[in-house]
């Protein structure tokens, strides 16, 4: 294995650059190192101006999402040894505006996330005196995988419909809505439908499935969306064929 690794990083400094450009760095190869380690080496020893987000370095915080050789990955989860000593190309996550270097503007996602009302909307008022909600393992199993999202945005970077339509609510937000719709304590599906079942919600999805392929937490947002299509369709027909039924 070569002693050094070459990485090609997309730079963009709004105050000086008209357009993004690639800058190449050579870093020592670390046996069990990840791309994030290479970036940290660059920042610590070669070029302190390089900007990027990171935090936990263990694939739970969702901060360090980037395009690595064209694939959306967590840079702390992309092992240098897997790139066969070849040049590694690092770019900011696709489909988001570039703030600076590898940092993207994610405000649109934050808005989409809040728009789906990602909190338990109780079926009925339940005063404290009535005690806690009880949930069986089976009830938990129904929605548990959809709780695992770390908001890393790899799914948005992978989704062609996000690329083609900025307003698409997107995989992570819709998966989170599904998490609450499936929660036995929740009665908010109808309230969420205005966004979730809108034209910019589930109906923009064409089940490419790339979101679920790149998700580091195996949330499977594609599954969440297809299940929501069925559920929303049933609700649509129920509302028109059985008005008054809940």
């Amino acid at each position: 294995m070569s002693q050094t690794i070459t990485i090609e990083v997309l730079r963009y400094r709004p105050e000086t650059d008209a357009e993004p450009f690639f800058q190449t760095y050579t870093v020592p190869h670390l046996e069990d190192g990840v791309v994030l380690d290479a970036l940290n080496y660059v920042k610590d020893h070669i070029d302190p101006t390089l900007s990027y987000r990171w935090s936990c370095h263990m694939a739970v915080c969702g901060s360090c999402g980037m395009m690595i050789n064209g694939e959306p990955k967590l840079s702390c989860h992309a092992f240098l040894r897997d790139y066969g000593g070849r040049v590694i190309r690092v770019e900011p996550l696709d489909h988001f505006p570039i703030e600076r270097d590898l940092v993207i503007v994610m405000e649109s996602f934050i808005d989409k996330l809040s728009s789906v009302k990602p909190y338990v909307i109780p079926k009925a008022e339940k005063p404290i005196e009535q005690g806690e909600y009880l949930q069986t393992p089976l009830q938990l199993m129904a929605f548990k995988q959809y709780t695992q999202c770390i908001n890393c945005l790899l799914c948005y970077a992978a989704c062609p419909q996000i690329a083609l339509n900025d307003d698409f609510v997107g995989p992570a937000a819709l998966a989170l809505a599904h998490r609450y719709n499936l929660d036995s304590r929740d009665g908010g599906k109808g309230e969420r439908a205005d966004v979730v079942a809108s034209n910019q919600g589930i109906w923009e999805c064409t089940f490419v499935g790339a979101c679920s392929e790149v998700c580091p937490k195996h949330v499977d947002p594609a599954a969440a969306i297809q299940q929501t299509k069925i559920s929303a369709s049933l609700d649509w027909f129920k509302a028109r064929l059985l008005p008054g039924a809940n």
Partner: protein, 128 residues
Amino acid sequence: MSRRPYVRKVERSWWLAHPRYVAYMVREITSLFIVLYCALLVVGLVRLAQGPAAWEGFVAAVSSPVNVVFQLGCLAFATYHSVTWFAVTPKAMPLVLKGERVPSKTIVAAHYVAWAAVSLVVLVAVGN
């Protein structure tokens, strides 16, 4: 410091950039051949309604070399549609039986069984 976010352009050829998206496009284009074959079937229905002579004409047309090649192409794409459709069905319909999630493989296998059964029924019905 002022912000000046840079928006990267999406090319019309976006799907060529990665094998995953090429595969998606191939999967979607199966729909073209399904529509074309339905058009062929509807011509058959019309000929059926027009009487025995028209029907025999349809049977002959369907057997022409050009039509056979076209239909073999449709068959390839239709089969690919079936395979990809069954593969993703478990995602849309999670099943829980006796407190356990039914494995995706089982759901997919059940669809293949249904596919074989339906095909057999049709073949037997037509063959008699």
